[in-house]
Symmetry: C2
Subunit: 226 residues, 2 copies
DNA sequence: TTTATAAAGATAGTATTACTATTATTTAAA
DNA sequence: TTTAAATAATAGTAATACTATCTTTATAAA
């Protein structure tokens, strides 16, 4: 497919000190960073541990990212942009807004399944990071400063895109963005609950089968707007 | 009101080393802990800073809580139990399940407004902590261990209670718990988004007016189950 | 081919965090 | 009044989250 070679996710340059996509070291910071955050969790993850994994030094990692919070912001922003692209690609020639929204809910629910590129990032690990860590990217005292720098732009753009579709289906619905942000967050929460606090949800995810999640979210969204 | 003097929230004793409610120092750890976490955010909050605020020592604080994560678990568990009590109290003589659910959504939306006790905890600050920090209590690598110790029991009990009500209204609805956990989480997320990332939601909260939040959530829930 | 320069590595150092341990002092109960 | 429990005071450790400096290596323009 012709897109494979050319797809690049454009990133806000405020999130990094040096663009990690431009160098070998930068790219290994990203790919090994994804692996390690997934393995250790964000709290236990440190630049020192990352540096040792990639046979580099702490100081070198700091030349790419100010701190691990910025790395998390980078990864989550990247994920949202990537999801946005997946949505565009898979709904490109779908005209019926309801059908389109259903496809989007499927993609949000099980993003890795729709993966069509060969970017050197472990999408499954990144998806797990988004599930467990992404809300930590904004639940901080620096949220307003980070927002001012545009670091949540990708998330907001995605939310807005889907909200517009909601409004196309139901022009009078007054909470399109609220519904979509709830949808996006619930899509991760419910996977987490299914895995760790299963009494909080009927949704079960076994063998990467996200069917129940999709049903729940689709039902929730379409009942709200129809 | 007679309950004021007698209301005590029963806490799981696995969450603390020494019960903070039993001593003066313990109680100041809780009340000043709430104040400081609210002020600094959970990441910047340390036991050393807390100790200095209450004119005690780090070592003394550690005699009550193993670490700050356990303190956060304590505070959130306390909040859920307290919310559960508020719900019981305010829906005690309401028989119509739909009316009951509406009242519950109001309480979840604006818990501090329904405050009826005089427990020595700043409920407004605790509510802000729940909004900004509560998901960090479970989004950790220790979630399964913490869950095994019963540290999320209060949250699960609350979720189950509301889910049963959902099922009373709509016996065939297959996602009662998923809907309620989504509701509980959304109630905090949307307040946070309204304050910090307002393009993610139409909901606005001005002067502690949570009307729009209530409308959004009520609409979402009732459309889903009716 | 030299030479500038940018990136990365090597090393060291600091302040803070997240604890643990020990001893002394105060307080409250038997 | 004795005894025990709680707290304070102090010290110490390993890890974290950085910053600084200097050297080496790769790259590419003069």
């Amino acid at each position: 497919m012709f897109m494979h070679a050319t797809l690049r996710i454009a990133m806000n340059d405020k999130v990094f000190v040096r663009d990690p996509e431009q160098t070998e070291l930068g790219r290994s910071i990203i790919s090994e960073g994804v692996r390690l955050i997934d393995e250790l969790g964000f709290e236990q993850f440190t630049f020192k541990k990352l540096a040792s994994e990639i046979n580099s030094t702490e100081a070198s990692v700091y030349r790419y990212f100010e701190n691990k919070h910025k790395l998390l912001l980078y990864l989550t922003a990247w994920y949202w942009a990537w999801l946005d692209f997946q949505i565009d690609f898979h709904t490109n020639n779908v005209t019926d807004p309801e059908h389109k929204l259903k496809i989007i809910i499927q993609i949000i629910t099980d993003s890795t399944r729709y993966n069509l590129d060969f970017l050197p990032v472990n999408k499954a690990a990144l998806h797990r990071i988004v599930i467990c860590e992404s809300s930590k990217a904004y639940l901080t005292k620096s949220v307003d400063a980070d927002n001012k720098e545009g670091l949540f732009k990708n998330y907001k753009a995605l939310c807005h895109k889907v909200a517009l579709l909601v409004l196309a289906i139901s022009p009078g619905y007054p909470y399109a963005h609220a519904l979509v942000s709830t949808l996006l967050e619930a899509a991760h929460q419910q996977v987490f609950f299914a895995a760790h606090l299963p009494s909080l949800t009927e949704v079960r995810v076994t063998d990467n089968d996200y069917t129940q999640m999709g049903s729940f979210l689709e039902h929730l969204v379409f009942k709200a707007i129809k």
